[in-house]
Symmetry: C2
């Protein structure tokens, strides 16, 4: 026999008021610290509230006041991906001081789930919506622009008319890292012996927009180096470390041995490094990747790095401005990337430090953001 604890109905202002022998309105006044409540009455109300463990129903209050709940929706493909979670952490850090709560939903790369999530968040009256879209449909346009809910597209800009966007400078990063790999081969670097540079690329399956931009950056670097564009045999697609490892193993066996391997994201880079290590080619073949990877510097992995958390903060600031009534034209922020070259491998780049493998969230990374903000 347990203590009949079952369904305790939440205590309301009514209960507190009855207990304190005042009207609900007076109880409300006392609890909100308004003026014109007799000290003794206030004390009685507060004591009554304490004794029954009263908590205001913020939802009902918001409804009465016509205020939207202090929620901001964040929809990403997968929160377990460090990129998205750092992004979310950055957003949340900016929002929290303003009393806004971040509601995170993962779509698991499923456009339908994304649509459902967006609809659900919108129905709950979120103040703003941040979407790292899996499928840049028009659904978000029709759904989100309608009620005047600010929409910020992050990582993938999509094509929603009124939406703000915050994206990485993928093309520039890819171009830079590609140029680095090429220069390293051509020059007298650790593995470069004057052979004609020959790249192998492992690209991502999904995130089409970012992937495309990165491949364009690669193409541009090749063109600028006077080299022919990538042949189909030089590129493999993969979606995780294991498949990347297999892909790179195959690429390494190709006839003109690759002199450099470029992996287009952190998972793929890990797989690529493993494949190289297994083939005993870690020193002989240059390797570079996107995103931060733990211990990258120690295994000679160059990375196109960036501050995902700062990117999230930028998103958060944008959201705050919109929530506070900024009705200006859509803003489009491009976050720069930074090439981080391992210490013993600075053939082309000079001032890169060795902090690419810092496992910390990266609070202190200095990343100047290109923010075309008209005023303030």
């Amino acid at each position: 026999m347990h203590t009949a604890d079952g369904e305790r109905p939440p205590t309301t202002l009514q209960h507190v008021a009855a207990l304190a022998r005042v009207s609900p309105k007076t109880a409300s006044r006392a609890l909100n610290g308004e003026r014109y409540v007799a000290p003794e009455t206030a004390a009685r109300v507060l004591e009554a509230a304490r004794s029954v463990g009263y908590r205001v129903n913020a939802v009902a209050r918001d409804l009465r006041l016509g205020a939207a709940p202090p929620l901001v929706g964040f929809v990403s493909a997968d929160l377990a991906n460090p990129f998205y979670s750092r992004l979310a952490a950055g957003v949340e850090r900016e929002l929290r001081p303003a009393g806004l709560l971040l509601v995170t939903v993962s779509s698991d790369e499923d456009p339908d789930a994304e649509r459902t999530a967006v609809a659900s968040l919108l129905d709950r009256g979120v103040r703003a919506l941040v979407v790292a879209s899996t499928s840049a449909d028009q659904e978000h346009l029709e759904a989100a622009r309608r009620p005047g809910t600010p929409l910020v597209m992050v990582d993938r800009a999509g094509a929603v008319p009124g939406a703000d966007t915050v994206v990485l400078d993928n093309a520039a990063g890819a171009r830079e890292v590609t140029a680095h790999l090429l220069a390293r081969d051509a020059g007298g670097g650790a593995g470069g012996d004057g052979r004609r540079p020959h790249l192998a690329v492992v690209s991502d399956l999904r995130r089409l927009e970012t992937g495309r931009a990165r491949m364009e950056g690669v193409a541009r670097a090749l063109e600028e180096a006077g080299l022919p564009p990538l042949a189909a045999a030089q590129v493999r697609e993969a979606h995780d470390a294991a498949s990347a490892e297999r892909a790179v193993a195959e690429l390494l066996a190709a006839d003109p041995h690759p002199t450099g391997v470029l992996a287009m994201n952190n998972l793929l880079a890990t797989g690529a490094v493993r494949a190289l290590a297994r083939a005993g080619a870690l020193g002989a073949c240059a390797v570079a990747g996107f995103d931060d990877v733990d211990l990258a510097g120690l295994v000679g992995l160059a990375t196109v790095s960036y501050d995902a958390e700062e990117m999230g903060r930028e998103v958060g600031r944008l959201v705050l401005a919109r929530v506070r009534g900024d009705e200006g034209p859509a803003r489009h922020v491009v976050v720069p990337t930074r090439l981080v070259v391992p210490p013993e491998d600075d053939g082309a780049d000079g001032g890169a430090d060795d902090r690419a493998d810092d496992g910390a969230p990266g609070h202190d990374r200095v990343t100047s953001l290109t923010s075309p903000t008209p005023r303030a």
Copy 2:
């Protein structure tokens, strides 16, 4: 001149009803697909709703129905920390199919922020609360147990009476990895030359409960190996990769050279490896850490690994059960750890695979959970 877009008041059921020339109730019926609505009327209502972009106010509906909003709060120290974000991702994955939304708040290790966050979530009527506590106070007890809101403490159990807990088996993991380091030294491993094993430990500053459990595991392993307990000079505290690197550099310079370095979390492990690499002792001195680290296997880092996302799913399942009315006694789940030894370094352990450095979220990791669930 822009299109007078300013403060659009949200369209309500009233507007739709007026437009369709029916009562709000009939509009409600049509939109909810109830029976007993004339097809022609329903069509008129739907068309009206579409034309003004009507979205139901889910908050008002919940209030009317007396239902708590489908929100679950998740309070952690820092979502940018991969551990917490994977945890959150796991929780969210279990919750989403049930239509529950996860509200994530970071406390930034600040007990006050944590208290504020918990209060705020409670006021919003979250269905359940998941807390990776920074300060295991009694606040949560008084605040959260009161309204019958289920509370799940994760990572740090704390001391809240009715709360469910999900924690790692820190002591066992630490004991296992310590035994591994000791055996490696004593045996004929790569770096072991029969010297008396001498450990250096970098421990975490905060997360007292987990840290203490881990240190206890270390102590037990030493005792079982017939070795003296750790001396003060063998232990340093650090809180990030950089400070860990400095700490390990100092430890390495000590008189009886350490034969093994043990770092108590992922950040510290990264710093430790860097320090060893810088000292050229990567091969000579065994190194081990907690948590998953990218590319750990390639640099000879053994890790006490576990599946944070699966841990989160366990939390999610617990939350679901509670939300669905499970009033049983508090459950306490202990998640096992797994020692992952790099390929070339399996002196003591046999069947460990080499996937410790898999950057993927770890969907496919098989981790049997010790779940003392009475029924189902």
